[in-house]
Amino acid sequence: MTTLSTLTPSGQALSGPRKPHVQKRDWTGWKFIAPFMVVFTLVLIAPVLYSIYLSFFKEQLVGGNSFVGFANYGQALTDPQFWESMGRVTLFFVVQVPIMLGIALFAALAIDSARLHLSSFFRIAIFLPYAVPAVVATLMWGFMYGTKFGLVGNLNDFFHLAIPDPLGSSWVLASIGNIVTWEFIGYNMILFYAALRVIPTDLYEAASLDGAGAFRIIRSIKMPALRPAIVIGGIFSVIGSFQLFNEPSILQSLAPNTISTYFSPNMYAYNLSFAGQQYNYSATIAIIVGLFTAVIAYIVQNSGSRKEV
């Protein structure tokens, strides 16, 4: 990446003021960062500490709130419902994320290739679903999935098809994957496209003088330049998968029999708190999921940068 940064005009024109202004050590910077840090402490650091605190206690019928050490963690690690939900989002992440990122990558390369008619229309149209709230997206797709009155029902009637119920137990995860894919292809595409746009044109000129074709340019110039963006998109998608909540929770009222209260870890934590009043256990689940996500995000990041030349 250093090569790219130094090629950008600012690095060249300003000849080196990349490092922050050097002056006597003073606290002026704090005046700027302090407001952010105050709110940050209140809404991020404090809840983390609070949930760690909660996870070591247990509300008991006799004796009230008492310290139980790692008992909640022990319970979670042997909780079949928790592991079922973790397994489900892992499957989701393994299947949905590569499909979504693959399509987004293809679209970004296609738009950047200058071989498309109306490329800016394509860019905006594919990006548009990102602006649609998850609630609306899920309600729309949920209606369309309907086998009785929805679009799937229409198609079955019209063509005498037998499309299985998208919200039935064998298809519901794929149907949720479709909604999430629909929402986030455009976002990832823009992430990749922005990375492609900063590749200096000289590189393409040099490559075509050397007789490199479009696919060779993609492999040797574009893909290496895209790697950081792919890593970022990957990390966001990992976090998103393990946080899966909105889509299944909204679809639940349409498919109460196939979407359980522990469909995803996040739904499990939510239902433990708000339906079961098991706040301490819920906080424990949240912490375990958070640690799990952080570890996987770290692995994704490392596997991405390791390959960097």
């Binding site: 990446m1 950008t8 005009p9 024109a13 300003l14 922050p20 202004h21 050590r25 003073d26 606290w27 910077g29 005046k31 700027f32 952010f36 991020l44 650091i45 404090a46 809840p47 609070y50 949930s51 679209a107 290739s113 200058a114 071989r115 498309l116 109306l118 490329s119 800016s120 594919i126 990006f127 548009l128 679903p129 602006a131 649609v132 709230p133 998850a134 609630v135 609306v136 309600l139 797709w141 209606f143 369309m144 679009l151 229409n154 019209f158 629909w182 455009g186 922005a194 900063v198 044109t201 393409y204 970022i232 909204i250 009222s253 996040n266 708190s273 906080a283 958070g290 996500t293 952080a294």
Partner: protein
């Protein structure tokens, strides 16, 4: 936009220009584009992707023109029966003493205060990180970047418990306060400010005796404009579409944003004996996405500049 803003600043144009304004970066009609011929096949494949992206929105529009009865008895992807769009809109905004309008106002407030505040805090903080050395700066980096890895929604339950002890739940603050923090926005402004605000300009301002905040508000903010718009759009979409946080924080419909309200209507339609108002859910959904889609289309061209700055250094 940035050109006129920068013209007002007393620095050589070569230094003031934003990273994107460069002969190294391509515009649409690049020389890459002039040599390549258009591909029909690629256009068709991408056309299919566009169809996939726009089809649900078309479905939503078509069905917002139908009556409740037609909704259940006609083909989903084409118009049917009398055009009930206007009736549906009127029914949506007047249902239950106009609660939809109330939710719309709430959403607007959460967006203006939440997204506006988040962008402002990120701008101040990112600029501070980019342009000043101060004790504890490394710790700030570590903590903020570490926090990005923590899944936000996993924190929602503890945040709810904490807020309820502070008496903040069921007030707008419970929704606004967490929206004020955008670590991604902070990161973006930080990387953007490194290049977009030349240190020489700040030194010149200091020589003239301007205070740091005055310099920030009169000079730096303008130079940061493309980055700010990018952050504003991300936070705008995030707050307009926020569902999980208000869902757990608010128990009374008075403070609901549109997203939570629509979900409540949809639930009501599925409850036995509940008032079946699918047409209102659909029309309400359409009314919910119109403002954000308009804002999005209007501002989307500014996105890339800011995003590009972020992705180069990622």
């Amino acid at each position: 936009m940035s050109t006129t803003d920068q013209a007002r600043v007393n620095v050589p144009a070569s230094q003031a220009r934003a990273p994107r304004m460069s002969r190294y970066t391509r515009t649409n009609k690049s020389n890459q584009g002039l040599h390549t011929k258009k591909s029909i096949l690629l256009t068709i494949i991408m056309g299919a992707l566009v169809l996939y992206s726009l089809l649900p929105l078309f479905w939503l529009f078509v069905n917002s023109t139908k009556t409740q009865a037609e909704l259940l008895n006609s083909f989903g992807l084409w118009f049917s029966g009398p055009n009930a769009l206007w009736d549906n809109i009127v029914a949506t905004v007047t249902y239950n003493d106009g609660v939809f309008v109330r939710w719309f106002g709430n959403t607007l407030m959460y967006v203006v205060v939440g997204a506006g505040g988040a962008t402002f805090l990120a701008a101040l903080g990112g600029y501070g990180l980019a342009k000043f050395n101060f004790p504890g700066k490394k710790a700030v980096f570590a903590v903020v970047l570490g926090a990005v890895a923590i899944p936000g929604t996993a924190l929602a339950v503890p945040t709810f418990l904490m807020f309820s002890q502070m008496g903040l739940t069921n007030t707008p603050w419970a929704v606004i306060l967490p929206s004020l923090i955008s670590p991604f926005g902070l990161y973006l402004i930080w990387t953007y400010a490194l290049d977009a605000v030349p240190t020489e300009v700040l030194e010149a301002a200091r020589m003239d005796g301007a205070g740091e905040f005055r310099t920030f508000f009169t000079i730096s903010l303008k130079l940061l404009a493309p980055g700010l718009v990018t952050v504003l759009l991300f936070t705008l979409v995030a707050t307009w579409n926020n569902y999980f946080l208000p869902l757990i924080m608010l128990s009374e419909p008075t403070w609901y944003p549109l997203t939570v309200g629509l979900k409540q209507w949809s639930n009501q339609a599925q409850t036995v004996g509940g008032d079946v108002i699918y047409n209102l859910v659909i029309t309400g959904s359409m009314l919910t996405i119109i403002p954000i889609v308009v804002a999005f289309l209007f501002l989307q061209r500014y996105w890339q500049s800011g995003l590009a700055a972020g992705s180069v250094k990622a």
